[in-house]
């Protein structure tokens, strides 16, 4: 219930605001490659130009990931608009991703 409510609230602002996201991956891993592909597809379809995505290779920047509180890869963090949200996994479940990002599917 709570999650649905915040999703709706977020979706109201989704039309005008830019969604800022960070995707933590390990470039060499199959799950990471899949996550990048899945996320790009979702953004293309639902956000067009209203998103900013930063992709961080944890193998290269482990300290950054550590500081950001990342545990597993791939992990997608929605930084803004609030509420912040984290999705772990290769983002193959599109509906879950959209819900977490506050985008109406």
């Amino acid at each position: 219930m709570a999650r649905k409510k915040t999703s709706r609230a977020a979706s109201d602002t989704a039309a005008s605001t830019v969604v800022v996201m960070v995707l933590y991956v390990t470039e060499s891993g199959p799950n990471s490659a899949r996550a990048i592909a899945n996320l790009e597809a979702i953004c293309e379809e639902h956000l067009k130009d209203r998103y900013r995505l930063e992709i961080i290779d944890v193998l290269e920047y482990p300290r950054r990931a550590l500081a950001d509180g990342i545990v597993v890869t791939p992990s997608l963090a929605k930084v803004s608009p609030s509420p912040a949200a984290t999705v772990v996994g290769n983002l193959s479940d599109k509906i879950e991703v959209l819900r977490a990002l506050g985008i109406r599917g």
Binding site: V58, L59, P62, I70, P74, S75, A85, T86, V87
Partner: protein
């Protein structure tokens, strides 16, 4: 099949510094290998893992990483606040806690892996030069993978990472209760690691008991079986099996129990470093006796520890004061330390840790535990017995003279043994009981055993007064020891009887003296009589003689006058008359007398 095979090198190990565990495992955890700690929630896995890390950091200055999958580092640090590890300081420079908690708010979409995590940990490990790593609650992470294949893949990945990163110690903990597990590859996980340690927490009589067991240790011998785990201020402590050899040195020095009479009964007091058990039903003055012992120890200037599982120190001091035992001055001076503990819902093992801590803090030479049997309250009689035994051995090793009390419910000498079965290991066993006789309860003291001592075998009455406990004179009557009023009565009776006997004797003497005097008097009278009769007789004889002489003279004269009969005829007539008289009277004497009288008559 070579004939000169080199003896296999013993597996390199790394000490955990956890008391008892390094003995059980013959040196600690396998170095550069993975150890798995498994067990249900709250069984002590996390404490074990964290304590290993803390010990390595404090004792060897080794850094470590703690990856927390289940609880937040903040929680873990807070939970460890009860131990004297000074974790906050260690966290600043030696230990790194990684919050690997996947919050429930996290949305999962598809598969993930540990590549990123391991990359981060590698970076951190290199940064702080970590020698240890703990993955706490790895089951939580593996369960999130939701796929047995992924689980196995990630377990492999972790193992490869650990091998690659050459850490000294690697511990995984997993919430695995018994055989059941949520991890599909639980069996595989066990197989993959080199050492598996099982932790168990179970409830026995309302008290949680912790146990540890080494289930697997590749390439190393280890102590098999379950061992009790206790938690003290220093953290977890595992109780290793008792050394089979008892190496205490027996002391010949005697220590007073506080009053002479009992010392005498014990052949001069208790041996220094010995253990004494005082048993008895409630109210038989067990505390008083142990208080007296404590007071005597303090008087000698010996550091003393009084542990009570009954009452608070204030109350004990006050109660003992009423029977003339003064502990307060020693308590004030610090010579005496009193500790009162609760026994409900505290595991016996934890009591042992407390006692050991108290001993190491106070360094006593004499110690009292009143009552030791209280630890059996805390569930698990077997555990309590083992704790009682171990406590006594610990005290002996440190040459502490110990007096412990135990409540036993029965009052039969045969069932004097307590639930804890301390009586078999105690050196001296004093039993207090009530003897009910003549409508009174009296306290009786018996020394059931006293090793190496010729002790009194008599039951004595224990009396309490302002001056302290006393052992009353024994009154044996008809093979029974008399006590209380019966003793008083007996004493009175005895006194009365003595008095009576003395009077009787006096009277008898007087009467005998009187009788003697009387007899003497009578003898005197009789002597007088005798004398008189002798005189009379003498007088009579001379008279008779005179008469005979005179009659024969007369006959002569008659014969001479008559000139007829010869002298012989008169004699014949006399003889015939005698015979006649004898026939009628039967007595020659009277006959003779009669004859003389008859002769006298005419």
């Amino acid at each position: 099949m070579g004939t000169n095979r080199p003896i296999p090198q013993s597996l390199p190990k790394i000490a955990t510094g956890i008391q008892g565990f390094d003995e059980l495992s013959h040196g600690g955890l396998p170095r550069s290998r993975i150890s798995l700690l498994k067990g249900g929630p709250g069984s002590g896995k996390t404490v074990f893992a964290l304590q290993s890390l803390v010990n390595a950091a404090r004792e060897r200055g080794e850094s470590g990483i703690f990856v927390a999958f289940e609880e937040s580092p903040r929680q873990i640090i807070a939970n460890a606040g009860g131990f004297d590890w000074d974790l906050p300081t260690l966290v600043k420079n030696k230990l790194f806690f990684m919050d690997a908690n996947l919050s429930p708010d996290i949305v999962q979409s598809g598969e993930f892996d540990l590549r990123g995590l391991l990359a981060m940990l590698k970076a951190k490990k290199e940064e702080i030069g970590a020698r240890w790593i703990v993955f706490d609650g790895v089951d939580v992470l593996l369960t999130l993978l939701q796929n047995p294949k992924s689980e196995m893949r990630e377990i492999y990945r972790m193992r490869a990472w650990l091998a690659e990163n050459e850490l000294d110690g690697a511990i995984l903990t997993a919430k695995i209760d018994g055989a059941g597990s949520q991890i599909a590859n639980y069996g595989f996980l066990q197989f993959m690691v080199d050492c598996v340690i099982g932790f168990e927490q179970r409830l026995e009589c309302g008290v949680s008991l912790h146990r540890v067991q080494i289930l697997k240790y590749r390439g190393s011998p280890f102590a098999k079986g379950e061992y009790p785990v206790s938690f003290g201020p220093g953290g977890m402590e595992i109780v290793p099996p008792e050394p089979t050899e008892i190496k205490q040195v027996a002391s010949g020095e005697r220590v007073s129990v506080g009053f002479d009479r009992l010392d005498t009964m014990l052949g001069g007091g208790l041996f220094r470093g010995s253990s004494t058990l005082i048993t008895g039903v409630p109210g038989t003055s067990k505390t008083t006796l142990s208080g007296k012992f404590a007071e005597a120890a303090c008087r000698r200037g010996e550091r003393t520890l009084f542990v009570s599982f009954d009452e608070g120190p204030e109350r004990i001091v006050r109660n003992l004061m009423s029977v003339g035992i003064q502990l307060r001055p020693y308590l004030k001076s610090g010579l005496l330390r009193m500790y009162s503990g609760r026994t409900e819902s505290v595991a016996a093992e934890d009591h042992l840790v407390t006692l050991k801590t108290l001993i190491s803090e106070h360094q006593p030479r004499c110690m009292v535990i009143d009552p030791l049997s209280a630890i059996a309250k805390a569930g698990g009689l077997a555990a309590a017995r083992s704790v009682a035994n171990r406590f006594i051995y610990t005290a002996k090793d440190q040459k502490i003279t110990v007096v412990v009390t135990a409540i036993n419910e029965g009052n039969e000498p045969e069932t004097e043994s307590t639930d804890l079965q301390i009586s078999t290991i105690a050196d001296t066993w004093i039993h207090l009981s009530y003897l009910i006789r003549g409508g009174e309860r009296n306290r009786a003291l018996t020394i059931i055993k006293s090793r190496g001592t010729a002790h009194s075998n008599q039951v004595r009455e224990l009396t309490l007064s302002d001056a302290g406990p006393m052992l009353a004179d024994v009154y044996t009557a008809g093979g029974e020891v008399l006590m209380g009023t019966l003793r008083w009565e007996k004493e009175d009776e005895e006194r009365a009887r003595r008095l009576e006997r003395r009077t009787e004797i006096d009277q008898k003497r007087v009467s005998l003296e009187l009788a003697e005097a009387d007899t003497r008097a009578r003898i005197k009278v009789l002597e007088h009589d005798l004398e008189r009769q002798r005189i009379e007789l003498a007088a009579y004889s001379s008279d008779d003689q005179a008469r005979i002489v005179s009659s024969s003279d007369r006959e002569k004269v008659l014969r001479r006058i008559r000139s007829a009969d010869p002298a012989g005829s008169a004699g014949n007539g006399g003889t015939a008359s005698v015979a006649t008289h004898r026939g009628s009277n039967g007595s020659a004497k009277f006959g003779k007398k009669n004859r003389t009288e008859s002769r006298d008559g005419p």
